[in-house]
C-alpha cells in the first residue's frame, strides 16, 4: 500500500464510523436502474456501480418545489483571435444552458473562464455568458486569478466566496484558488511569469496552491452553523475537496480541515471543476462530483482515481467537441436530484477496458518533469 493509499484509509477510518454512508440518497433508483438496464442489460447492471450516466441523488427536499441548475466551467478562453475553438465550445454550452426548458434557476460558473487571466479573456468570457439570462453565480479558478491577483475577476463577478439558500438547499461557493503560497516575490517574477506557472498543470513551481485557508474555513463553519445538520448543503469549489492527485493540484491542501468542518452535516454534496473529467468520490458523509470542462479533457491521473468513479470514455482527440461539455442538475419534487453530464457525444462513460479513460491508462508509469526545476524556470505557459 503506498503512502497516499495509507493516508486515505486512515482518514476514512477517522471520519466514517462503522456502517456510515452518505445518507440514504445514493440508493439506486428506478430511473437509474432502467437506464443501466438499457445500457448494460440486467445482468450487467450489478457490476455498473452506482454512478450511472444519470446520477440520481437525493437532496431530501421535502415539500419544496422542483428546480434545476446548471454548471459550466473550465472554458480556458484565449483572446478570440488566438483560439476560436474554445470560444465556440463555451458559446455552445452557454446557449444550451439558456435553452433549458423548463429553465434552470441559476447557473454556477466553476472557474477557469480565462486561460492566462488576461482582462481580454475575462471580458470575452463575460460577454459569452451574457447569452445566459438566468441568475449567475461565480467562483474563480487559478487561471482567472494570478495575472492581477483577482482584480479584474472580482470587478466582473464580485466576491469569490458566498452563500445563499434556495428552495431548501444551502449553497456555498468556495474560493480554493486565491491563497497560493507566494512563490513569485522572492524570484522577482513578472505577473505574466507568475500566471504562466499557475497555468502549467504539471509544473512544480507554483506548488500546492489549491487551498481553502484558515480564514475561509472559519467563515464556512460560521456560515453553516445555523443550518440544520441533516438539511442539504451543496458546496461549489474549483478544486476537489479531497486528495486525488496533488502534483496536478487535484485537491485542496487543507482538505482534512475542510472535512472536519463539514463532518457534522449529513447531506453534503461537493461539485467541483478543475479536473476536466467525470469523477465521483465519497469522503466521510460528503460526496463529490467532478464536472466536465468545455475546453479540453484531462486524462485521469496515474494514481488516486477514486474507486467509486465510473470513468468517462476515451476521447477522440481529432474532435474538439469531444470529451467536454457542461452539467445539468435537476432537483425534482419527488426529492431526487439528477446530475447529467452534457457531453457532446452518445456515450459518456467507458464500458469496456479499451473504451475507458481509466482502463486505457493502466500500462503507464509516469515521472514528474525535469525542465521546470531549474531557475529561471523555463517552460511555463506563456
Amino acid at each position: 500500500m503506498d503512502e497516499m493509499e495509507r493516508e486515505r484509509r486512515e482518514m476514512d477510518k477517522e471520519l466514517r464510523s462503522a456502517g456510515d454512508r452518505p445518507d440514504r440518497s445514493l440508493r439506486i433508483t428506478r430511473r437509474t436502474f432502467l437506464h443501466k438496464s438499457v445500457l448494460a442489460g440486467a445482468a450487467g447492471a450489478a457490476t455498473y456501480g452506482w454512478f450511472p450516466l444519470i446520477n440520481t441523488l437525493d437532496f431530501a427536499l421535502g415539500a419544496q418545489p422542483a428546480f434545476k441548475f446548471a454548471w459550466i466551467s473550465d472554458n480556458h478562453l484565449y483572446p478570440k483571435d488566438v483560439n476560436t475553438r474554445f470560444v465556440d465550445k463555451a458559446t455552445r454550452a452557454a446557449k444550451e444552458v439558456q435553452a433549458m426548458n423548463p429553465p434552470a434557476d441559476f447557473l454556477i460558473h466553476g472557474g477557469d473562464l480565462a486561460q492566462l487571466g488576461d482582462p481580454v479573456e475575462l471580458d470575452l468570457g463575460n460577454e459569452i455568458l451574457k447569452e445566459v439570462k438566468i441568475r449567475k453565480v461565480f467562483i474563480p479558478g487559478e487561471h482567472d486569478w494570478y495575472l492581477d491577483l483577482g482584480k479584474k475577476w472580482t470587478r466582473l463577478f464580485g466576491q469569490p466566496n458566498w452563500t445563499f439558500d434556495h428552495k431548501g438547499v444551502r449553497f456555498v461557493g468556495l474560493d480554493t484558488v486565491s491563497r497560493a503560497p507566494d512563490y513569485w516575490t522572492v524570484k522577482k517574477m513578472t505577473h505574466k511569469e507568475r500566471m504562466g506557472h499557475m497555468a502549467t498543470l504539471d509544473g512544480s513551481v507554483a506548488g500546492p496552491w489549491a487551498g481553502v485557508g484558515r480564514d475561509q474555513l472559519e467563515w464556512l463553519n460560521r456560515t453553516l452553523s445555523n443550518w440544520p445538520k441533516d438539511r442539504p448543503v451543496v458546496v461549489f469549489s474549483h478544486n476537489p475537496l479531497y486528495e486525488y492527485y496533488p502534483p496536478w493540484n487535484f485537491w485542496v491542501r487543507d482538505w482534512r480541515e475542510v472535512q472536519e468542518v463539514l463532518r457534522p452535516y449529513t447531506n453534503v454534496t461537493n461539485i467541483h471543476g478543475h479536473v476536466h473529467q467525470v469523477l465521483y468520490n465519497e469522503i466521510g458523509k460528503m460526496r463529490s462530483i467532478g464536472m466536465l470542462a468545455t475546453s479540453w479533457p484531462w486524462p485521469y491521473a496515474p494514481e488516486g482515481v477514486p474507486a467509486l468513479t465510473k470513468c468517462m470514455v476515451r476521447v477522440d482527440p481529432g474532435d474538439p467537441f469531444d470529451g467536454v461539455g457542461w452539467s445539468r442538475l435537476t432537483l425534482t419534487a419527488a426529492e431526487k436530484a439528477e446530475n447529467e453530464y452534457v457531453m457532446w457525444r452518445k456515450d459518456v462513460l467507458g464500458e469496456t477496458p479499451w473504451d475507458s479513460g481509466c482502463a486505457d491508462n493502466v500500462n503507464q508509469i509516469l515521472h514528474p518533469r525535469i525542465a521546470d526545476r531549474e531557475w529561471p524556470y523555463p517552460g511555463a505557459s506563456k
Binding site: 484565449y78 488566438v82 483560439n83 476560436t84 475553438r85 486561460q115 502549467t200 498543470l201 504539471d202 509544473g203 502534483p247 496536478w248 479540453w296 479533457p297 484531462w298 486524462p299 491521473a301 496515474p302 477522440d316 482527440p317 481529432g318 479499451w354 486505457d360 491508462n361 500500462n363 503507464q364 508509469i365 509516469l366 515521472h367 514528474p368 518533469r369 525535469i370 525542465a371 521546470d372 523555463p378 517552460g379 511555463a380 505557459s381 506563456k382
Partner: protein, 149 residues
C-alpha cells in the same frame, strides 16, 4: 584489364572503409569510465529537457529549433500532463485517426496538425527527436507493448 579494374575497385573500397572506420568513434573497445557514462547520460537528458520545453509550449525553444507546434496557444502538455495518455511504448500500431499503421513520430505530427493546429515537423528533425526523448523518458518503466490500441 578486367582483373586490374576489379583490383582497383577492391582497393578503393578498402580505402573507403578504412576512412569510414577511422572517422567514426569506436564503441565498447575499452572499459567505460564513469565520466563517459555521465557524458552519455548528459547528452540524453539535454534532449529530454529540450523536449520537455517544446512539449510545454516554450516559445524560445521553438524559435531556436525553427518550429511552431501550435498556432492557437495550445501545448502538448495541456492534454498530456507528465506526458500521460500518450503511451509511446505502445507504438508502432494501427492508429485509428490516421487510418494506417503508424509510428510515434507519425502520431506526434498528427497531434501537432490536428489537435494543436501547428505546423508539422520533419520526422527526423532535432525537434522530433527531443519530443520523442521526453515522452519516452517520462514513461520509462512502462511495459513495452507495441500494437496495443
Amino acid at each position: 584489364m578486367t582483373i586490374t579494374r576489379y583490383a582497383l575497385i577492391a582497393a578503393g573500397a578498402s580505402l573507403g572503409l578504412l576512412v569510414l572506420m577511422t572517422s567514426r568513434a569506436l564503441a565498447h573497445k575499452e572499459k567505460h569510465t564513469p565520466e563517459q557514462l555521465k557524458a552519455f547520460e548528459e547528452v540524453f537528458m539535454e534532449q529530454v529537457k529540450i523536449g520537455d520545453l517544446l512539449f510545454h509550449g516554450d516559445e524560445a525553444t521553438q524559435k531556436n529549433l525553427g518550429v511552431q507546434l501550435s498556432r492557437t496557444g495550445m501545448a502538448c502538455a495541456m492534454c498530456h500532463p507528465f506526458a500521460s495518455d500518450i503511451h509511446p511504448h505502445e507504438f508502432p500500431k494501427f492508429q485509428e485517426q490516421i487510418g494506417k499503421f503508424a509510428t510515434l513520430r507519425d502520431m506526434i505530427n498528427w497531434c501537432i496538425e490536428k489537435a494543436s493546429e501547428g505546423v508539422t515537423i520533419d520526422s527526423d528533425s532535432d525537434a522530433m527527436k527531443a519530443l520523442e526523448a521526453y515522452m519516452y523518458w517520462s514513461n520509462r518503466g512502462s511495459k513495452l507493448d507495441p500494437g496495443r490500441h
